[in-house]
């Protein structure tokens, strides 16, 4: 698992796609999530595109695309039940899966130890 400074986690699946979600730390800081808007499957994304809108009781935030690639699957469960993002952010409440050309894009991101240090 890799982590971004934007508090996203990335996990490479057996088929080479990358699953993206937000960390427990991010979910906790956001507070109760009440709205999630996911991109359409098939959307071609570039790093730092605003791909997801997430709103908590407190505020609206964007999730930025951590990679270049194409959205191949989104997790509709969190659209129906946004509260799942607080319950299981690093498990069932993943956001989307991306097909990428080049997995070396992940190399720049933090491993778990580095992320833990980052959030202090």
């Amino acid at each position: 698992m890799k982590f971004t400074e934007e508090h996203e986690w990335l996990r490479v699946e057996d088929d080479g796609t990358v699953v993206v979600g937000i960390t427990e730390h991010a979910a906790e800081q956001l507070g109760d999530v009440v709205f999630v808007e996911l991109p359409d499957v098939g959307t071609v994304i570039s790093k730092d595109d605003e791909v997801v809108v997430i709103e908590s009781v407190k505020a609206a935030s964007d999730i930025l695309a951590p990679l270049d690639g194409e959205i191949v699957e989104v997790n509709e469960i969190i659209v129906e039940e946004p509260g799942k993002v607080n319950d299981d952010p690093e498990g069932d409440a993943w956001f989307f899966k991306v097909k990428v050309e080049d997995l070396s894009q992940l190399d720049d991101y933090m491993d778990e130890a580095a992320y833990k240090k980052f959030i202090g």
Binding site: E6, H7, I22, A26, Q29, L30, G31, D32, V34, F35, E37, E50, V53, I54, E55, S56, V57, K58, A59, A60, S61, D62, I63, L64, V79, P82, G83
Partner: protein, 418 residues
């Protein structure tokens, strides 16, 4: 993650920062960019944000502290905003509202109520001893300078005003009422609110006399060994009490209330979502120095006696505009707004009459997710012609026009003990 306020380099932690700028006031002082919390010259820059008598207790309870209107206040506790909101509607929530201003008006020479009517468009002279009512300070343009509660406590009036406006309010009252009326700002009393359906049983456990009070009654009641000024009111849409307690006894009283299984401490976050669902205004957002009481849908607060043809018609700042609007209606109105989708429409969202083109017809002044409604709720201003319930408008959120319906408020039925 990035938020939509144009800030960069932020983490989710910064989302809490919005509470720092929530309480703007209409006192006419320019606070400069980002400097909305109130600090007037007489308050000096000598110290940081103030603390209420319950500050240490908030920390002990795990409160997440933010600056609000110049005070360090808990925005939430470990329970979180959503559960705190639901807890208040289902059982009882304890709020620290000690940052609000408490002021006594008293006179041996003149009738303080008659004098106070020069500042507010409501019937104060007709307010019986032991009763309180909602009022607002108006300005010469008919706008609202602050909203407030005024109680007749027998030989004096007791006024509670918003934290962000209290210095301006006290200055306004002194200028208009002294020397005939003594204006005394109380700095040594805390203010607690106990709100929710269990509030009556909890508070009656400390003193059964509170059970006999009805909505908007005020009384002096001994609680936890201290002389408290209690009103059966609040700002959540629930039954409950507001309790003015001597500073020295505030922590003991709060602990006595929190000892009850039904009571949880509630922060500013849930206070905001509760009052929004109840259709109640947040000063500086839903009403301000430019909105009249009629536009603000607060005409109900202006009794007949102060209206045109009333026995004491007018005689308050901005009476020309306000009395005219009471008869002819106002050009725009504050209305309840129910977004049809799931996306919250927050403060500043522009409202359009159609899905395409045209200039905005109004904007959202407060909005968010309503935990009890289970959907987004909002309020805002629209032209009078578009203010009828069931009118469909479009709010522009992230570049998309989303349908939103004008509805009657409150969004959740009020649960007052009339």
């Amino acid at each position: 993650m990035t938020d939509h306020t144009g800030k960069t380099d932020k983490t989710a932690t910064d989302d809490l920062a919005q509470y720092e700028v929530q309480d703007v006031c209409g006192c006419g002082v320019d606070h400069g960019p980002g400097g909305h919390h109130h600090r007037h010259a007489d308050e000096a820059e000598e110290q940081g944000p103030k603390r209420t008598p319950l500050y240490d207790l908030h920390l002990e309870l795990g409160g997440k502290m933010v600056e609000f209107a110049g005070y360090q206040m808990p925005v939430q506790y470990p329970m979180g905003v959503l559960k705190e909101h639901q807890h208040t509607r289902a059982r009882a929530g304890l709020f620290d509202v000690s940052h609000m201003g408490q002021v006594i008006l008293q006179s041996r020479k003149v009738d303080a109520a008659e004098a106070f009517e020069r500042l507010v468009p409501v019937d104060v002279m007709g307010l019986k001893a032991g009763r309180q009512r909602y009022a607002m300070f108006t300005n010469d343009d008919g706008g609202i300078e602050d909203d407030l509660m005024v109680a007749n406590r027998g030989d004096h009036l007791f006024v509670v005003v918003n934290a962000a406006c209290k210095d301006a309010d006290v200055a306004r009252m002194r200028a208009a009422l002294e020397p005939d009326v003594i204006v005394r700002q109380l700095d040594s009393r805390a203010l607690l609110a106990l709100q929710g359906p269990a509030a009556v049983d909890v508070l009656a456990g400390l003193n059964p006399a509170v059970r006999e009070m009805t909505f908007m009654d005020v009384a002096t009641v001994e609680l936890a060994g201290a002389e408290c000024w209690v009103s059966r009111s609040g700002y959540t849409g629930e039954d409950g009490y507001e309790i003015s307690v001597p500073e020295a006894a505030a922590v003991d009283l709060a602990r006595a209330l929190l000892a009850h299984d039904d009571v949880a401490p509630i922060g500013l976050g849930a206070r905001d979502s509760l009052r929004l669902e109840a259709g109640l205004c947040l000063y500086g957002h839903d009403i301000d120095a430019t909105t009249s009481p009629v536009e603000g849908a607060l005409s109900w607060a202006i009794q007949k006696v102060r209206r045109a043809d009333g026995a004491r018609a007018g005689g308050f700042p901005g009476a020309d505009r306000i009395l005219r609007e009471l008869v002819e209606a106002a050009p725009r109105m504050r209305v309840g707004l129910l977004p049809e989708g799931r996306a919250p429409m927050r403060e500043g969202v522009e409202l359009f009459a159609a899905e395409e083109g045209a200039t905005p017809v109004g904007h959202v002044t407060s909005g968010g997710f309503g935990p009890t409604v289970g959907a987004p709720v909002a309020m805002g201003y629209v032209p009078a012609a578009l203010a009828a319930p069931d009118t469909v408008l479009y709010g522009e959120v992230r570049g998309k026009r989303l349908a939103v319906k004008v509805v009657k408020m409150p969004f959740t039925p009020a649960n007052f003990k009339r």
